[in-house]
C-alpha cells in the first residue's frame, strides 16, 4: 500500500528536480522546484511526519518560492541557455567533480551503517500517541533548546544585515 504512494511521489520528486536544471525559462524552473517540494511533502506524510510535511509546504512552497518568483519577475531574468549548455570548460569539470563526490558519498552512506538498521528512541507508535507537533515542540524547547536559539539568532543577524545593506 505504501509503495502505491511512494513510487509516484519519488518519481515526481526526481523528475521535477531534473526539470529545475533542464528548463530554460527561470519561471518554469521555479515552478518545477515547487513541484519537488510538494513531492517531498508527500513523502514526509508517508513517514507520518504530518507537521514537517505541512511546514514544508507553508515555508518553502508558500513563502520562499513566492519570493523567488518575485525576484525573477522584477529583475526580468532573460531566457539564457542553462549553464550546462554554455561552453565553460573549468566550471563543467568542477561540476562533474562535485557530482562524482556526491555519488560516492551516497554510495558510502547507503551501503554502510548510516542508513539501515539504526532506530532512534522515537517509534512511530510513540509519536502517534503523543502527536508529532507536540513532540517536536517539546524537543525543541528541551533537548535542542540551544541549537534552536542559535538558529534563531543566526536568522536575526541575517535580517539585521539585510536591513543595514538595504539602507546604504
Amino acid at each position: 500500500m505504501e509503495w502505491l504512494f511512494f513510487i509516484p511521489l519519488a518519481v515526481l520528486a526526481l523528475a521535477t528536480a531534473v526539470l529545475v536544471i533542464l528548463l530554460r525559462n527561470p519561471i518554469y524552473c521555479a515552478l518545477a522546484l515547487v513541484g519537488t517540494f510538494f513531492a517531498l511533502s508527500g513523502l514526509y506524510l508517508l513517514l507520518q511526519a504530518e507537521f514537517v510535511a505541512v511546514v514544508q509546504v507553508i515555508i518553502y512552497a508558500g513563502a520562499i518560492m513566492v519570493l523567488f518568483l518575485f525576484v525573477i519577475m522584477l529583475l526580468d531574468v532573460g531566457h539564457e541557455p542553462p549553464p550546462w549548455l554554455r561552453q565553460d570548460r573549468p566550471k563543467l569539470v568542477l561540476g562533474l567533480g562535485l557530482v562524482a563526490l556526491l555519488v560516492l558519498e551516497l554510495a558510502v552512506a547507503i551501503g554502510s551503517w548510516i542508513a539501515p538498521g539504526i532506530r532512534g528512541p522515537y517509534t512511530s507508535d510513540y509519536i502517534n500517541a503523543v502527536g508529532n507537533t507536540q513532540l517536536i515542540g517539546r524537543l525543541l524547547f528541551t533537548e535542542f533548546l540551544i541549537p534552536f536559539e542559535i538558529t534563531s539568532i543566526i536568522l536575526l543577524i541575517a535580517i539585521v544585515g539585510a536591513m543595514v545593506l538595504a539602507r546604504r
Binding site: I27, E50, V54, A63, F70, N132
Partner: protein, 328 residues
C-alpha cells in the same frame, strides 16, 4: 465504519460541501451587489427574476459564452494554468473545517467534517499560502505591465499579512492545546475564543480581509492605478475562475473565523449546521459592510500597517496569552 460505507459517506460529504460552496459563491455575488446597493440607497440587480435572484445564473451563462481571449505575447501554458491554481486552493481548504456536531444516521455516527486531521489549522495555512501563485503567475503570464504590478503587489501583501494571521491564531492554539479544528471547537464549549482573545480576533479579521484581497485592502486590483490589476487580460471563464476563487476564499476565511473565534457550530436551540451557517454569513456580511464603508489603503500605508502595527501587536498578544496559560 466498514470500508465501502466509509467511502460512500466521504464522497457524499465532499459532493454536498462542494455543491454548497459553488452555490454560495454564485449567490455571494448577488448578496454583495444587493447589500452594497442598499448601503448606497439604490436597488441593485432587479431585472432577472424577482429581486434579481436569477442574476448569478444569467452572469454564469454570459461568462461561459463570452469570447476567451489569450494575448499574443502571453505565456500560454501558465496563462491557462494560473486561474486553476487560484481556484483549487480556495476550494480544498474547506476540507478540514467542521460544520456540525457528530450525527447518527442509518446506525452510523458521522462527523460533520470532511477530514479531521491532527494538523488541520496548519493544513489550512499551507493551502492558503498557495493561493498567491494563481495571482502572481496570472499577472506575469499576461505580459502586461499593469497585470504584473498587480500580481507583485498581491504577492507582497499576502506574504506580509499571512505572517500576522499565523501569529494571531497562536493564542487560540495555546488555549485549545490542539491544531485540529474539531478539537478547537470542542475547547470552546465554555466560552468562545473571541471573549478570551479579542485582540487575536481583530488581527485575524484584518489579515483575513487582506488575504482575500478585499476592500480596503484590494490594492492588487486598484482600478484607478492598475486598471483591473492581475486579471486585466483575462476574459470569459478564466476571469470567472478568479472571481470564484476570491469568493470561495472569502467563505473559507469566514468559516475559519467562525471556527477559531466564534465557537464554530456551537449554539443553543437551533441545529449546529444552522448556527455554523448563521455565523459564517454574519462574518461575510461584515466583509461586505467594510467594503461599502472604507476607502482603499495606499500601498505604503498597507505595508507599514502590516509590519509595524499588526505584527508587533500579534507578538504581544502571544506573550500575554502565554503568561496567562503558564500562570493558570
Amino acid at each position: 465504519m466498514p470500508g465501502p460505507a466509509f467511502f460512500v459517506v466521504m464522497l457524499a460529504k465532499i459532493a454536498v460541501v462542494f455543491g454548497l460552496m459553488l452555490l454560495s459563491v454564485a449567490y455571494l455575488t448577488w448578496l454583495e451587489r444587493k447589500v452594497i446597493s442598499d448601503f448606497q440607497v439604490r436597488l441593485g440587480p432587479m431585472r432577472v427574476g424577482p429581486h434579481g435572484l436569477l442574476q448569478p445564473i444569467a452572469d454564469g451563462i454570459k461568462l461561459m459564452f463570452k469570447e476567451d481571449i489569450i494575448p499574443q505575447a502571453a505565456d500560454r501554458t501558465i496563462y491557462v494554468l494560473a486561474p486553476t491554481l487560484a481556484l483549487i486552493p480556495a476550494f480544498i481548504s474547506f476540507a478540514v473545517i467542521p460544520f456540525g456536531d457528530r450525527v447518527r444516521l442509518f446506525g452510523q455516527s458521522i462527523d460533520m467534517v470532511i477530514s479531521d486531521v491532527n494538523i488541520g489549522l496548519l493544513y489550512l495555512f499551507g493551502v492558503a499560502s498557495l493561493g498567491v501563485y494563481g495571482i502572481v503567475l496570472g499577472g506575469w503570464a499576461s505580459n502586461n505591465k499593469y497585470a504584473l504590478l498587480g500580481g507583485l503587489r498581491s504577492a507582497a501583501q499576502m506574504i506580509s499579512y499571512e505572517l500576522s494571521m499565523g501569529l494571531s491564531v497562536v493564542g487560540v492554539l495555546m488555549l485549545s492545546q490542539s491544531l485540529s479544528l474539531v478539537r478547537i471547537v470542542g475547547a470552546q464549549s465554555k466560552a468562545w475564543f473571541i471573549l478570551l482573545q479579542p485582540i487575536g480576533f481583530l488581527i485575524f479579521l484584518i489579515c483575513a480581509i487582506a488575504e482575500t484581497n478585499r476592500a480596503p485592502f484590494d490594492l492588487p486590483e486598484a482600478e484607478t492605478e492598475l486598471v483591473a490589476g492581475f486579471h486585466v487580460e483575462y476574459s470569459s471563464m478564466k476571469f470567472a475562475m478568479y472571481f470564484m476563487a476570491e469568493y470561495a476564499n472569502m467563505i473559507t476565511v469566514a468559516a475559519l473565523a467562525t471556527t477559531l473565534f466564534l465557537g464554530g457550530w456551537r449554539g443553543p436551540f437551533l441545529p449546529p449546521v444552522v448556527w455554523f451557517l448563521a455565523k459564517l454569513y454574519l462574518v461575510i456580511f461584515l466583509f461586505i459592510w467594510l467594503r461599502a464603508t472604507l476607502p482603499r489603503f495606499r500601498y505604503d500605508q498597507l505595508m507599514q500597517f502590516g509590519w509595524k502595527v499588526l505584527l508587533p501587536l500579534a507578538l504581544a498578544n502571544i506573550v500575554i496569552t502565554a503568561a496567562f496559560v503558564a500562570l493558570r
